[in-house]
Symmetry: C3
Subunit: 159 residues, 3 copies
């Protein structure tokens, strides 16, 4: 029996293009039968937000964060050439033309391929995000769980 | 016979300073007899662009991207303290004073040391970049090739 | 006897939130008995700067850099939602509320846990930073030392 290879990606960034890169690598690795985990922390948590507003109790600061941060993958900006929001539209147009999968589809595909989508509970607390606001079938863990996976991992990336 | 160590860097960023870091690590690893690959994707592809304009047929969107994105390593901005383009000049002055290699020279050195410079074909498509526009001796591949290298790699970085 | 696992983090970024991520992972890995190194290069060096002004001789350019760059971990900005400096205050408020450790404390904790804090001498030269300006008990090394650690490392990250 050969051991399965593992890919562990920390998605720290909340940029559409960086999240795309993370999910393309994750889906590729899953197709190659890797055991794949994406650990979403800080701004990367926004990729897991539901698009609709979920009524949860929040303090003032948490409500502000919730408002300012993009609600879900489709709303995220670019790391480069964002141009006040025109950049993402341009990229999405080009992607459609080339039949490239948009980010929300890449995330669904990852879920179908059983990529482990993990949300970092410590930074959820900081940004005031609650489980009800994130996608279904997301796991919740902290840095200890990340390290337990990564220390035996083959492809470890911080994106 | 000992197995050669391998270093696999994904260069996603189009920033001069981050690309410098990538190429300094790559050249160092090559000097240590690692098998080294830099996989250029998204904005990192700009490091491989030729400085001169290459006449190729493009659609409107592709021509726009080609115009906005930096044409080659020497034209890239900084990730920090860019100050509308003054930052890169300051850094290049300081580098000259300290006899540090500018990025285009680091790239040539990498080619001489047989670092594999790979361009991601999927993102070339998205950004409308064609092979004629990139440096000679660049390889073309996708995420599958990256993973095949990285899963046995020793130093895997996403920059 | 089992071999100790190793975690090698390159901290390139000078952002408060990214440095936090680096130090949280480092402290976690040290708690799991990893041999941990954070190699500070480029803007990441700012995390190691002393808060007070240290009188050292500098050229004009070096004095400019010294002035513009944040003097120590507490002065660093956010990679996202920085809002001209309001973002870091918001984050620090939220962190206090949740009893999360601020970055300077995370750095002290790393030193107590014997995480190796390394400053990249090549980029110190470029940015005009001198040893007297950095925290005590920092090591000084270059890319060769980084690679010697990383090529046998288990968790290698570029942040």
């Amino acid at each position: 029996m050969t051991e399965r290879k593992t890919t562990n990606i920390i998605l720290f960034s909340g940029d559409y293009d960086k999240a795309m890169a993370a999910y393309i690598i994750a889906n590729g690795a899953a197709a190659y039968d890797h055991d794949v985990t994406i650990f979403h922390t800080f701004w990367g948590l926004n990729a897991l937000r539901k698009e609709e507003i979920v009524p949860v109790k929040k303090g003032l600061m948490e409500r502000m964060f919730a408002k300012i941060m993009p609600r879900g993958a489709d709303k995220m900006g670019l790391s480069n050439m964002n141009f006040l929001g025109i950049g993402p539209k341009m990229i999405k147009n080009v992607m459609k033309k080339h039949n490239a999968m948009p980010l929300p589809d890449l995330i669904s595909m990852a879920q179908e391929q059983e990529v482990n989508l993990v949300a970092c509970t410590m930074t959820m607390d900081l940004l005031g995000l609650q489980k009800e606001e994130l996608l279904e079938n997301v796991e919740y863990a902290g840095v200890a769980a990340y390290l337990a996976d990564a220390e035996n991992g083959h492809v470890n990336l911080f994106i």
